[in-house]
Assembly symmetry: C2
Homo-oligomer: 337 residues x 2
């Protein structure tokens, strides 16, 4: 199996990206292809002991930044590392693409310029994977690709999310729920009510509506929402926890006793960080794209990139793309006769 790693993805690229790719090559043994500015990548590789590691470099002359407009970046920068990397997957020279870069741009380049969508998919979705809950893996989608959604798209998200979670994350009979403002059937929007009717008819384990607090308790394995609500959900979660962390830091350092207490508690805080650390997961797939694409956070460290490669490998091995294609085809109305 050959995994492409975008060397130009993280905010501090290419250092963490290259180091993470090396960790993955060492830990998993299969070839890793670094795509990006060849000179920069080679300079970075020279800082590491790479002898015997299956790492290749493919040059890409352009870099997608966080400032690039997702809708137009594919045309504006046809030689970006994302573009070149995804085309390696499209042409069969590699099996999956991993990037910590601009998520919207990656989705747009995947959808419009390179891999395209799986036959039958109405709209691909961005997924996020939360580190909370019993299994430590709750798959959320859509977390930002489609602000305005139709009920039918949400139902497809439910099917794709269920297949990914079962096949790739190896969660048996995943519980699929719809994010709502209450568990009762009367709660939610008209869109949610319509979507639930469609989801109930799918060959998945639908467990009803779920409130934010129960998502964080691991009350579902797959959580469905439109891309606007899903994005507000993950952004609010991130903002809430980082604001609280900041307030705690301020108060702990406000006097000597607090500072001492904080110092003694440091190992505990380190364990807290590890438990809620999204980098342990590494990244999440663009579901509905006709190929495995894993996107992680721009602030990712080398370990996150290694874990992103692990996610990509699991997705490829699980055959989830083919399963989504088959799953959607099975829902198509049968021709008469």
């Amino acid at each position: 199996m050959r995994i492409v790693v975008d060397a130009m993805g993280t905010d501090n690229c290419p250092a963490p990206d290259v180091e993470g790719a090396l960790l993955a090559a060492r830990d998993f043994g299969d070839p890793v292809i670094l795509v990006g500015d060849e000179a920069l990548i080679k300079a970075e590789l020279a800082k590491h002991a790479t002898a015997g590691l299956p790492v290749e470099v493919v040059h890409a002359a352009q870099v997608v930044t966080m400032e690039d407009k997702p809708a137009t970046v594919g045309k504006a920068k046809p030689e970006s590392s994302m573009h070149v990397g995804m085309n390696l997957v499209k042409s069969g020279q590699a099996d999956a693409f991993v990037s910590m870069g601009n998520t919207g741009a990656a989705l747009s380049i995947a959808l419009l310029n390179t891999l395209g969508r799986i036959r039958g998919v109405k709209r691909p979705a961005l997924t996020g994977i939360l580190p909370f809950g019993q299994t430590g893996q709750t798959v959320l989608l859509d977390v930002g690709a489609n602000a305005d959604c139709r009920a039918e798209w949400l139902a497809q998200f439910a099917l794709m999310g269920s297949l990914y979670t079962r096949l790739t994350l190896k969660i048996d009979r995943p519980r699929v729920a719809v994010l709502s403002n209450g568990e009762e059937a009367s709660k939610g929007t008209e869109l949610i009510h319509e979507a639930i009717e469609l989801i109930k008819a799918l060959p998945i384990h639908f467990s009803g509506s779920i409130e934010p607090k129960d998502v964080l308790k691991g009350g579902a394995d797959v959580v469905i929402s439109d891309g606007f609500v899903g994005n507000i959900f993950i952004k609010t979660l991130e903002a809430g926890t980082s604001t609280l962390t900041e307030v705690i830091r301020e108060e702990l350092t406000a006097n000597l006793i607090g500072t001492l207490g904080g110092a003694l508690a440091r190992p505990a805080f380190r364990r807290v960080r590890k438990r809620i650390d999204p980098f342990e997961i590494g990244g999440a797939p663009l579901l509905g794209i006709n190929g495995v694409v894993i996107i992680g956070h721009g602030r990712s460290n080398a370990n996150a990139i290694r874990n992103g490669v692990r996610q990509a490998r699991a997705a490829v091995s699980s055959g989830v793309i083919e399963a989504i294609r088959a799953g959607l085809a099975a829902l198509e109305p049968k021709p008469e006769g």
Copy 2:
């Protein structure tokens, strides 16, 4: 000024409710009317030194619980403390109503059975007040009354929220923003784009779209959303901070050093709690109802109820109901000639 306090509101009623009403009567000097089960209230009052305090009791034979269906509770329980209390305001025997009970029920009883809406208001909104930010008071609406909203309703929320924040909370020229998944005009839903066009035409200080993280930094004084998104926002915030708090507690108590560090840090944690404590605010208004109604959390303590009365007093003094009525009337198309 006479404020009615629902004695049957909190989860532990009537103890915190009665104690909070007494604190308010003592601190503010004006009469407080406790409404609810007279025998229970009097038994509770007997535990306190009430001599000289301007506290009255009005009996209400029924109690709204969290299990009551908001839409039908007004008809099902016409003698509830909410019903009786709001009718005291409607008849002019009191100036405002404060309750820590079922929010949906309070809205429904206010709207359908007692006070009704301010002339011109399409839909009343639930508000929430966040303790974050520079002023420590960010007003959010709608946080749950209307899951499916029209752009015109959001624009009214913006006007009502701006007036409340300026007149009652005394924030000069409040910055009104729309909660979105990014600051750029291209972000957000169709509903948001339509609403923004209407809000721009209002005589308020519209500051654009705002992301969750900037809401928590105090980047706006009034934050507008539909009731579904607003509810997901506050519930996610609450779930995120309480999950993090729980994880910290678990890790701090996992060993002796952590426990010691935690003990030393206890005053700091207490200050953290106070900084993010919604009970310091006490409650938030049902905006658009034709009378001052302040609703707080069922877990409220006596101090929260006292602060809810303070909010109610500020709302009455500020004349915000009349200001909303006048503000909406000014937007009506003028008759020809």
